[in-house]
Subunit: 225 residues, 2 copies
C-alpha cells in the first residue's frame, strides 16, 4: 500500500531527497509561488539532451536534420502531455482555483510543462545519471518507433521517396563543375526537379557526396519532407 | 612543449580517450565523412543543458522567459564563434578544398558548429560531468555578465522600464474580477497601455500576482522587451 508520504515525496520510482522540489514541480503558476516555471526551463533542457543522446545512439545513420526533426516530434507539447497522462500527473497538480475550475489539470500545455518541471526537479535532486535512468524509459518506445524513413535514409533516398509517393518525376543530378588538384577534387552538382520546379546545389569531395548535399538542399524546400 | 600527438588527441585540456572523436568533431562535411554534423546535434543539446543549469543557478530570481532569452543570447551563432576563436579552433578544422579556399575556417557558422561538435565529442568520450567541467569555464563570464535588467527583474518592473526608456506613459492595472471563496480568491487584472495601444490579462491568487501575469502578457507583445 502506498502511504500518503510516499505520494508526496516520490515520482515514477524516484524518491526525492528534497521533497519540496517535487511539490514545486507540481505547482502551476496560478497557485502562486514557488511555482514550476523555472524548473520547467531547466527540465526542458535536460529532456532535450536525454532525447538527443538516445536518438544519436539509436539511429547511427541518421543525419543531423533527421535527428533534429525526430527530437522535435518526441518532445512536442502533445507528446509530453501524453507521457504526463500515462504517469498520472494531472490529479497531483496544484492549480489556482480559476485553472482548477476550467479543467487545467487536463490541458496539454499545463501537463507538458509540469512533466518538464518534474524532470528538472529530479535532475536537481539526484544529478544527471539518476535523472536519465528515471526519464529515459518514458521515451524509449518512441525513440525506437521513429520511422526509419525519417532517420535511417540518406537525402537522395528520402527525396526519391517523397517524389514517388506523389507520382512525380524523379530528380536529375547534373554535374556543374569539377575542379581542384588530383588528390583534392571538388565536385559541384545541381539537383533539379521538374515538379515542383525546384533546384538545389551541393559541393563535395566526390560526385556522390555532392549529389547528397544537393538532394538535402532540395528537401529543405519541400513541405513535409 | 606540446607534441604533435598532444595536438591531435587533446582539446582545451581534455585528453581524448578516443581521439577519433576529436578528429571527427573538427571535420566539416565538405571534407567528407565521417564529418561533424551528428556530433554537432548532440553537442548543441549538451551545451544547451550546461548553459541552462548555469543560468538557473546563477540567477535565482529570473523567471522562465528571462532565462530562455538569456540562454538564446549565450548560445547564438556569433557568441559560439567567438568562443571557438578564443579556443583557436579555426586552424585545426579539416575542410574540403572549396571551403578552404573561401576562408571557411574563419566563418561564424562553421566555427560555431565545430564548437558544438567538440562538446558532443567530449561528452561521448568522458560523460556529462567531465564535459561540463571542460565546457562551463568557456561560458562562465558570459553567464555572470547577463545584465540584471534581463534576468533579475519581475515583469511589472521590466514593463515599466521598457516604457520609461521610450518616454511612453506607464501602464494601468485594472481589476476586472474578484471571485472565489474567502480562502481561495481569484483576481483577474487587465494591464492597459495607451502607447503602443496594447492590453493583456492575468489571473492570480492575489492582485499583485495577477498584475505580474498581465504585465508578462503585455511584454510578450512588445518588440525587444
Amino acid at each position: 500500500m502506498q502511504t500518503r508520504t510516499d505520494q508526496a515525496t516520490a515520482f515514477a520510482g524516484h524518491a526525492f531527497a528534497t521533497p519540496a522540489l517535487l511539490a514545486q514541480a507540481l505547482t502551476h503558476r496560478s497557485a502562486g509561488a514557488p511555482h514550476n516555471e523555472r524548473l520547467e526551463f531547466l527540465g526542458d533542457a535536460v529532456l532535450g539532451m536525454i532525447v538527443a543522446e538516445a536518438l544519436y545512439a539509436r539511429w547511427p545513420k541518421a543525419d543531423e536534420g533527421s535527428l533534429t526533426r525526430a527530437r522535435a516530434e518526441l518532445v512536442r507539447e502533445s507528446a509530453l502531455a501524453a507521457v504526463a497522462r500515462r504517469l498520472e500527473i494531472g490529479p497531483r497538480l496544484v492549480l489556482g482555483p480559476g485553472e482548477m475550475k476550467s479543467g487545467g489539470h487536463r490541458r496539454d500545455s499545463i501537463l507538458s510543462d509540469a512533466l518538464e518541471a518534474i524532470i528538472g526537479a529530479i535532475y536537481l535532486d539526484a544529478g544527471f545519471e539518476a535523472c536519465r535512468r528515471v526519464v529515459l524509459p518514458w521515451f524509449e518506445a518512441a525513440v525506437s518507433a521513429v520511422p526509419a524513413s525519417k532517420v535511417g535514409k540518406d537525402a537522395k533516398t528520402r527525396l526519391q521517396e517523397w517524389l514517388q509517393g506523389r507520382q512525380k518525376p524523379l530528380p536529375q543530378y547534373v554535374l556543374q563543375q569539377e575542379s581542384g588538384e588530383e588528390h583534392a577534387r571538388i565536385f559541384v552538382v545541381r539537383c533539379v526537379l521538374s515538379d515542383p520546379p525546384l533546384a538545389g546545389e551541393g559541393e563535395g569531395g566526390s560526385r556522390r557526396a555532392a549529389e547528397q548535399v544537393a538532394a538535402e538542399a532540395v528537401l529543405g524546400q519541400l513541405p513535409g519532407a
